[in-house]
Symmetry: C3
Subunit: 266 residues, 3 copies
């Protein structure tokens, strides 16, 4: 059997010693653990970003992997730390909504425990770095086979971010959504499922980003000439606005939160 | 025997969930695979950069390692995806020339297959993320021992970037080359092999970057005082222009493509 | 027994092929080695930064792990490369002071060897990339069980950075220290141990950063409202100046080297 896997997702960047400290703590408890970086470039304390990231990355992993997430503006306050099982994925997260989409997309209700037993923590516990002092050691103990029931009691309520749901109006044959992610190429990914476009009828669609018409619908970037502004279905299955071999974010001066409107018909 | 190794080189950056998704797909198929990051900081869709990167990194690896490369401006078009064996190194790459130098420097002709059999792909295959949906799962299956012959047919032609060959003129005792890489320190690495400098005679050499005289020849950075503009042999074996404890790119206002001229004699 | 671990800390960034080349060299010698990235974002040739990073990261690791550090402005000169054992941690470092704090905080005197035997190096050795040509292969050989005595002779002297010690004046009930690290959130971490604040008496304390009063003392960030300028004990155990959900570095226009003064009493 392969050695257990622990992934790390943080907003620490890589210049500070924080990520390295977490890796050391994990390997000190379970030298056989395989620690895998998902990202340390989550923008500081950006829970929406973390939520999008986790919802698009974690479902690709096999069940059983432990995912440690440290985006934690409330560190040291009375916010809880949680152990979560959701569709077989196992998360260690602050109770701040950073896994809202994971829970919403799940087939089974999540099982959630409050990390209450300090026996599995590093001592002394600092007030500002629970990633190193609580989440990393708990992950390492779990990777050794610790029964999660020993971590703390079940909880039935936890923080959820407000949903970013597009407004679909079949009568008006219209969807209004928003950009929820901009990747490093400047592609703008919205919260409008491609299914919603089919539901309102069309093609053709009139697609506008903050009022600016998106002139072309393509299957993939290479279907239009460099510099063309295009709409397509993102790899996440939602509507995406892109500039071929360029940046839609720069060219359209738009980012997360920009409104996208789609109307079916000519 | 050690568990199989799969390396990842992309232009995705680490903020987006794309790299994490690929790691999840690989581990879902082969939980024992060891996934190693080479770089996710290749500039977006920069094939020349990827080509330089791979030519200077992959030959350091032992044979048999699987190298997945996702710098793929043509994703979703009819550009092929390839499985390559070159001097024992195994690559999974888009057919866009990103491995030109690897092939050119090889002792044996490359064996190249077109990834044509969707049995080894993730379904459904998106139009914009073949790294996750084709290259990652194929790499994982290969790491489990899949016979590459099952991936698809041999191909005998593939895209090559135009060579960036310096012009060597032994009669005029002159070489004209160019900067092909600038590292994070601002060191400017050229395409002029140190052997070419010996071939035209000298030292001394008159070395100029875009017309600016490079006044000092050194063995290593620390051989001159901080701030000195120097020429030396890079760790890649080619001519490098540097500023000691500073940035040649900034000080000389030069980057990739800048012309370097070397004349032998006084 | 778990496979041996080799960590990498460099100032190379991830765009250049240097880190990847080191990983390849290690795996070529010991395919079972587990290579773990600590950071490749150490600012170029910044020995103070590397020293802080290592002192706060390496003690979290279990003994026996091999830590390779390449922050090496003197590469190719007659500066030595060292194998260090300090409190069970094993380092491969240039002799430039980058591990000063590790040695200062140690319970046992360090055992230090000069890497003098080229049998364990990659050939040919370049003048500008000893990370790839000396440190990586030596680490790989050590991970296979090589006796460190074979690397080269013991040395009893090595470079140390000047200590950044705060001035504690119990009579005046005052401490004067400085900012030694700014993390990616803009938190400013000083060299003043929390114990020193207790030693001069208080609370209350009058805390000033470059003359600016820090108005609040908190246990953790979330104890004050967003935007508040606060002082607290950092996860490293020293005084930290922060802005809640903001950047103290930006708001107070201060960074590494800024003076912090603490006086006890009203």
């Amino acid at each position: 059997m392969a050695d257990p896997i622990i992934t790390l997702t943080t907003d620490f960047g890589e210049a500070a010693p924080f990520v390295a400290a977490m890796k050391g703590v994990i390997l000190g408890i379970n030298p056989a653990a395989r620690v895998i970086d998902l990202s340390h470039q989550i923008p500081g304390q950006d829970l929406r970003f973390a939520d999008f990231f986790l919802a698009h990355a974690l479902p690709c992993f096999p069940p059983g992997v432990l995912h440690v997430v440290v985006v934690d503006p409330g560190v040291g306050t009375d916010r809880k730390l949680l152990y979560v099982e959701v569709d077989g994925h196992r998360l260690l997260v602050p109770d701040n909504g950073c896994w809202t989409e994971m829970a919403r997309g799940a087939l089974q209700p999540a099982v959630v425990r409050w990390l209450a037993d300090p026996r599995y923590w590093r001592q002394p516990v600092s007030q500002t770095f629970h990633g190193r002092d609580i989440l990393a050691p708990v992950a390492a103990h779990l990777s050794l086979g610790l029964n999660p029931e020993l971590l703390g009691p079940l909880v039935s309520d936890w923080i959820r971010l407000d949903p970013l749901t597009p407004r679909i109006d079949p009568a008006a044959r219209q969807v209004i959504g928003e950009v929820v992610f901009a990747d490093s190429f400047g592609n703008l990914i919205t919260n409008v499922p491609s299914q919603a476009l089919e539901d309102i009828g069309g093609p053709p669609w009139d697609i506008r980003l903050e009022g600016q018409l998106i002139p072309r619908w393509v299957r993939t970037y290479g279907d239009a000439e460099p510099g063309a502004v295009v709409a397509l279905v993102a790899s996440s299955g939602t509507l995406e606005i892109a500039v071929v071999q360029g940046s839609a974010a720069a060219k359209l001066q738009a980012g997360v939160g920009a409104q996208v409107t789609i109307r079916a018909g000519g």
